[in-house]
């Protein structure tokens, strides 16, 4: 087991408004979320001495403008003017889960006492995957000439392989979309709060890239979320019940850029990340009371459930049936609605929900007696990170 098990905790969390259009600059969303997270902790902004983020826009062909389409540490510091900033970082390879893990490491090393991590997501005007050039250079020379543009198609090809190899039916995915949308109705911050989705809606919706229909894809939005992390002893003195970090892992399986469609790459990535998390935390899949698994595209949940070890290969679409992923089911899943419910903010919202469930602060969507709370914070293939939060720090 990890010697630093339960020595760091998530304290406060914060949310901006989530909308389709950028009516205020992204920096304002990020600032709102950070202020709310700090206030939720009961801290003063001047207590914050660590900052971390993953400033990235997953859309193609749009300029990255700090404060408008991304919010860097520099941009945040210019707004906050923290008097005692002692540590900061922007990660490049492990998405927002990596920023959280770096903040954990900094706290354990004594580099800072109260770190804030935010993820701010921009929704650009016009086409999201805006492929401006007539030329396909680099890794895209082997994919773009055939119509492979955004990440959705890359994941769709692995999904057809999974479906046909395991003799499965994409209509079973309706259960995931409908259940998560029902969970969304308990999350007032979510984009689809107040909008229901029926099985019929899912089955009748238009195809985007088979096997993905519209409701298999998270909707691009503008918004930000944030968390405050601190050491366990400091967290105990703060207002919210802490969610203790029992362990974390990163994906260790790497493949060559431009190679797409390999189902094995998703599975190996997820297995390697989860293995570290199980070993460090001392828990296994059977111990988990509630799970958040990244769902930017629905099939990511399949790869997660199987590669993390919650069910066998080829079983995930059967596993999610019969009420198992409901709030009172055997494995309540994406209880905040997932990215399919909140809109595309990437994995920090999954981490936030994992922490809220562990600390008993999830309101009307709280899973009863949730102690062991698992998070897979991004698609296992590229940037996979996994976490376990617990209520009891033993």
């Amino acid at each position: 087991m990890w010697e630093n098990r339960c020595k760091v905790a998530v304290s406060g969390v914060g949310f901006s408004k989530v909308s389709r259009t950028a009516d205020v600059p992204l920096a304002v969303h990020a600032l709102t979320a950070v202020k709310e997270a700090v206030a939720d902790s009961g801290l003063a902004m001047s207590d914050i001495d660590g900052l971390a983020t993953y400033p990235e826009l997953p859309a193609t062909g749009h300029a990255e403008v700090d404060g408008i389409s991304v919010v860097s540490v520099n941009c945040m510091m210019a707004m906050l003017k923290l008097p005692d900033l002692a540590w900061h970082i922007q990660v490049g390879t492990v998405n927002i889960g990596g920023a959280v893990q770096q903040a954990v490491n900094a706290l354990l090393a004594g580099m800072c006492n109260y770190a804030v991590v935010w993820r701010a997501m921009h929704n650009p005007r016009g086409t999201y995957q805006n492929l401006p050039s007539g030329m396909a250079a680099g890794a895209t020379q082997f994919t773009a000439p055939y119509g492979f543009g955004g990440p959705g198609q890359g994941m769709a090809v692995a999904y057809t392989r999974w479906l046909e190899r395991h003799n499965q039916n994409r209509e079973k995915m309706a259960t995931l979309a409908v259940t998560q949308r029902r969970h969304t109705q308990h999350n007032p911050h979510a984009y689809f709060y107040g909008t229901e989705l029926s099985r019929e809606d899912y089955l009748a919706s238009r195809m985007v890239a088979y096997p993905f229909c519209l409701f298999d894809c998270d909707i691009p939005v503008q918004g930000a979320v944030a968390i405050v992390l601190t050491t366990a002893d400091r967290a105990c003195d703060l207002k919210p019940t802490p969610a203790y970090l029992a362990g974390y892992g990163q994906r260790l399986h790497f493949e060559v850029a431009g190679r797409i469609g390999s189902l094995a790459d998703y599975m190996e990535g997820g297995r390697s990340s989860a293995k570290l998390t199980w070993e460090r935390s001392g828990f296994g899949p059977k111990d988990v009371d509630v799970a958040q698994i990244y769902d930017g595209f629905s099939a990511s949940v399949i790869y997660g459930l199987e590669s993390y070890g919650f069910c066998g290969e080829g079983e995930a679409l059967d596993f999610i049936q019969d009420g198992r992923i409901e709030l009172d089911g055997e494995l309540p899943l994406n209880t905040f609605g997932g990215s399919l419910g909140t809109g595309r903010i990437h994995g920090l919202w999954h981490i936030i929900e994992g922490a809220l469930q562990a600390s008993g602060r999830a309101g009307s969507r709280q899973v009863k007696d949730a102690n062991v709370s698992f998070v897979g914070a991004s698609a296992p293939i590229v940037t996979g990170t996994t976490f376990i939060f617990v209520r009891e720090p033993y």
Binding site: T127, Y128, Q129, L131, S133, G134, M135, A136, A137, G138, A139, T140, Q141, F142, T143, A144, P145, Y146, G147, F148, G149, G150, G152, Q153, A156, V157, A158, Y159, T160, R161, E164, R165, R206, M207, V208, A209, Y210, P211, E255, V256, A257, G258, R259, I260, G261, S262, L263
Partner: protein, 143 residues
């Protein structure tokens, strides 16, 4: 059947690693990068062998026959250049001579509904301009 005549494909830009692949395609041959140490074929080309990390890699011809490993049917018209062909099949193919080396392509000369994992396909070449010829796939004739 998809009408590809109105589609303007992005033109591949070969670099020092990938030029032999595109030069061969222009001659109507598929050549993939092969490790001279362990014999492993790989695609896309890379700096080292992805199996044994040897650095002695050469391009060698392979037979243009293989199996659909995975596919997607494109319905989205966000990329206007491809809108005229929607719905169309984009496929990932594992060639018989190069297990594990996955090549992308479109399934030409067939209804998109013919794309299935495990179906046999063969290479055809689509000339994009005087410099670049694109490997593509169609259903294999009876073997």
């Amino acid at each position: 059947m998809s009408d590809w005549s109105k589609v303007t494909r992005p033109i591949p830009v070969p670099n020092e690693w990938t030029k032999p692949f595109w030069d061969a395609a222009k001659r109507g041959i598929v050549e993939l990068q092969r490790c001279q140490s362990c014999g492993h074929f790989q695609h896309p080309p890379y700096a080292t062998c992805t199996r044994c990390v040897a650095t002695d890699l050469r391009f060698e011809p392979v037979r243009g026959i293989g199996t659909i490993y995975a596919y997607t049917i494109m319905y989205h018209t966000g990329d206007k250049r491809f809108a005229a062909a929607v719905p169309y099949a984009s496929i990932i193919v594992e060639l018989d001579d190069a297990p594990g080396a996955l090549m992308a392509g479109n399934l030409l000369d067939a209804e998109y509904t013919e794309a299935k994992v495990g179906r046999r396909v063969e290479i055809v070449f689509e000339k994009l301009n005087d410099d670049v010829t694109l490997p593509q796939f169609r259903l294999a004739s009876a073997e």
